[in-house]
């Protein structure tokens, strides 16, 4: 598991417009150079927001990657819920889910 490397990739992607452009053009090249497991690599390329959440990516990084991927707020929240349903509880970090998989805490 290389949560640090995975988080670093998304941190850099969030702040570097050059990397964003390269990633959009060729996602596989965008993730090259980061030491990711196959599961992490797949989660970024798909993108599988739910799996990234379960892997422990900090929400403050993940929400911007979701927006970058064209996913709106309600869909972002739903994809995390679906990720927990599919992959089990959040495995690392401080962004575990407390509400139920079908809760809508803020109505979305």
């Amino acid at each position: 598991m290389s949560l640090y490397q995975l988080s670093k990739l998304l941190f850099q992607l969030n702040r570097d417009e050059g990397l964003q452009a390269r990633f959009k053009l060729d996602p596989e090249a965008g993730v090259a150079g980061f030491q990711l497991t196959e599961e992490e690599r797949r989660a970024v390329l798909e993108p599988d927001i739910g799996l990234l959440y379960v892997l422990g990516v900090n929400g403050q990084i993940l929400m911007h990657f979701a927006a970058f991927s064209g996913i709106d707020w309600a869909d972002y929240l739903q994809r995390m819920r679906d990720g927990v349903k599919r992959h089990g509880p959040v495995r690392a970090g401080v962004y575990a889910m407390l509400s139920g998989p079908d809760d809508r805490v803020a109505g979305v």
């Binding site: 988080s7 911007h64 575990a96």
Partner: protein, 272 residues
């Protein structure tokens, strides 16, 4: 010259980015309180606005995470996020590296801080600036306390950071305004977004407004995480501001607004 203004406010990105989804009966009084804070801030005629923020991996990451950082740049651009997402247009806020340098030199006599000659503003500072400095006229000095990547700096050190900022503000000839910005209890950017522990918030604000130092510093990170969520770690910004101001606080607005993901707060402190 001195500290001429001290206050705290919320900064959640939903405050601007998801504004239309909030109940107008709560949103409008909150925005009005933000604007009133802006008027009070400008009426104090500050030469610079020092914002104690809790940034969210815009500049600082776990490759080298400072507990405390203060900006020392000519200017600061933001938001680093997509302006369409945050609904705040990009701006270049003016800095004052000479003033930063003098403040940092004084702060360092008691607290080790990282200085940063490059700093891009995320929603943690942009949302406050959007309301507090809509015309982009103020000189900005951003400061940061790591509230995101544990291990986090202990609360008694946060207090010392606030005291050091006050000592530094008193020492320079410029008029310094101070704004701390963070959430109280909240679980942002997760499916729990919108969860708010209002009794916990009100108790924290009671301790904060009353300058109850020991009570404010008595929370452990385990308790904060359990009762106030990972967003609750940001009480550090409120605590540092209280330490700098020394006087009691007045809460002008507090209300949980779930779609904004936080108990929205506007408060000021008397400067003693």
């Amino acid at each position: 010259m001195s500290l001429v203004f001290a206050g705290v406010c919320s900064h959640a990105p939903g405050i601007t980015g998801r504004s239309e989804r909030a109940d107008a009966a709560l949103r409008e009084p909150f925005y009005a309180a933000f604007r009133a804070m802006s008027e009070a801030l400008h009426a104090a005629k500050p030469d610079a606005l020092l914002v104690i923020a809790a940034e969210h991996f815009a500049n600082f990451f776990m490759d080298s995470m400072p507990a405390y950082a203060v900006g020392m740049a000519d200017n600061y651009d933001g938001p680093i996020e997509d302006p369409a997402w945050l609904r705040i247009p990009r701006r270049l806020a003016r800095g004052n590296p000479g003033l930063s340098r003098r403040l940092i030199a004084e702060i360092q006599k008691s607290v080790d801080v990282t200085y940063a000659e490059e700093w891009r503003l995320d929603h943690g500072i942009m949302v406050p600036l959007y309301f507090l400095d809509p015309q982009n006229t103020l000189t900005l000095i951003p400061a940061n306390i790591n509230c995101q990547g544990p291990p986090l700096t202990p609360l008694n050190r946060v207090w010392a950071f606030g005291e050091a900022i006050r000592r530094a503000a008193d020492k320079v000839p410029e008029r310094i305004a101070l704004v701390g910005t963070g959430g109280i209890s909240h679980w942002p950017a997760t499916p729990d977004s919108g969860m708010i522990n209002e009794p916990w918030d009100r108790e924290f604000l009671r301790r904060w407004a009353g300058q109850e130092r020991e009570a404010m510093l008595s929370y452990s990170d385990e308790e904060i995480y359990r009762d106030a969520g990972q967003g609750g770690f940001e009480i550090r910004t409120f605590i540092a501001t209280a330490a700098a101001a020394r006087g009691t606080g007045k809460v002008h607005f507090y209300a949980p607004i779930p779609i904004f993901a936080v108990g929205c707060t506007i408060a000021t402190l008397e400067i003693l």
